[in-house]
Every structure is written in C-alpha cells, then in structure tokens.
Amino acid sequence: MTPDRHGSAIITFPNDLEVVITREFDAPIALVFDVLTKPEHVSTWGATPPDRMTECSIDLRVGGRYHSTFVTGDATVFSFHGTYLDVEPPVRTVQTWHFNCWPDVEAIEAMELRERDAVTTFTWSLTFDDQAGRDHMKGFDGRQDSLDEMEAILESLLTTRVGGVSES
C-alpha cells in the first residue's frame, strides 16, 4: 500500500508575484510527466463534473503551444493558452500562461518533477510577469494589490483548472 497523500499539497507565496505548489506522487517520474503533459491524460483529470474540458491541445516542444478550454456547469467558458519556453522530459516544462478572463495578465507557469525512492515530487509555480504586474498597479495606495491578483489567479484555478470544486 502506498501512503495516502490526499490533501498534502503545500502552497507557498515566496514573493509578491509567485505562487508555488508542491505535491508528492507515488509514481515514477515518467508516468507523472506523461499524465501532466499528454492530452489524453490531462483531459481525463482536467475537469470535475459538471465542468467539462472541451479542448485540450498540447504541442510539447519549445515554441509549441497549448490550449485548454473548460465549460462549467452554468455554461461559462474558461480557456488557457500559452507557448512552451522550455521542455525537458521528464523533469521540466516552462510555458507562458494566458487566461481568457484577464487578457492583459501574463504569467510564466513552470512544472518541475523530481523522483526519489519511487516518489515523484511535483512543483508547480505560477509567476506573474513584472510588466503585467505593473500594468495592474492601480487603486489602493497606488500599489499593486498582489493578494487581489493572487486571489484572482487562484479563483481561476478553483473554478476551472482545479475543476470547479465548489459544490454549486
């Protein structure tokens, strides 16, 4: 029996512009990498009913693009797309990250895997582009409210890529 790792993700905010999530899986690194990067796998775990993943294209090479689209239970459409900047199977992908609801926000998404003693550690980070962050500087105190930004990002993860875990 492998240990139950449910609920064990570690979420940190190393600085104002970055969120980092770490999680261990009891699976070999090559399999984890495939599950995270191959459309036939991603489309399987990508959305939680009643949400549906209606598009999942991944051209996994430097300069290649990915595009994923989700439709929620109330027919709201969310989509993410970007271009791969670095692809090193089975340890790393780095890609730009665009979300249709925030056309002027750009982030860099990175996925990194490391296997040790048959346990693969998955580190997933999202780093907002400085310029985008600056462009968003407005409102309170003339400063960027990075937590608001973070909240918006996390909100999108919640309603879409995380799979609409909110019950309603």
């Binding site: 492998t2 790792r5 449910h6 609920g7 064990s8 993700a9 979420i11 104002d16 999530i21 999680r23 899986f25 009891d26 699976a27 070999p28 090559a30 399999l31 984890v32 495939d34 599950v35 995270l36 036939e40 796998h41 399987t44 775990w45 939680t48 998955f122 309170f140 105190d141 400063r143 960027q144 409210d145 990075s146 937590l147 608001d148 909240e151 918006a152 996390l154 909100e155 993860l157 919640l158 890529r161 995380v162 799979g163 875990v165 909110s166």
Partner: protein, 115 residues
Amino acid sequence: MARASTTTDVFNAVGDAHRRAILDVLLAGEKSVGAIVGQVSMPQPHVSRHLRVLSEVGLVRCRAEGRHRLYRLAPDQLQPLQDWMSKYEQAINARLDRIEDYLTELQRQGDDSDT
C-alpha cells in the same frame, strides 16, 4: 471578486509588502514606531501611515505609554485571510488528489505509461 478599500479590508492591508514587513517586525512583540522604523527600511511617516492602515483593519492594536504609542499584533484578525487560503488549499488539493487517483488507477491497470 470586488474588494473593499484598503482601510476596511484585511486582504488589501496585507497586500502591501511594506505592511507585511511591519507585521513581521511586530511578530517579535510590542514596539514603538521608532523601534519599527529602526527595523524596516522606511521613513517614519511611511511607517506611521502603514500602521494606521493596519490599525484600521484591526491587524495591529495600539496603546499609549507616556509619550509613546506602542503597537502590537492582533493576529486573530488574520482569520479571514486564513479562511480564504484554506478554500483554495482545498481546491488545489482536490485537483492534485484527482491526479493522484488517476496515477494510481493507471498503475493498477499496469497501463503502458508511454501512450
């Protein structure tokens, strides 16, 4: 999700790196403005302004002692932030748990990992 102004919202209050630095300093205990200024690289007027914001959302409390005003943390006011984080923690965990279940299923099937 719309947010209230800085002075009424703990999220916005801690959305500022300078104010977080002040909170970090106060973790060590009650301090005067002068002592805080000595530990953060900010001029006193800025520190005072940030302390006012932090006081207004209830993250720090202030008392007078002689001619000094002493500030201390009121960490219970961080609860909304913690609640907020825990909601996303659950959601992110749910997604990763789904990946784990899928990996387990694939391995149980002895599936070809390369297809």
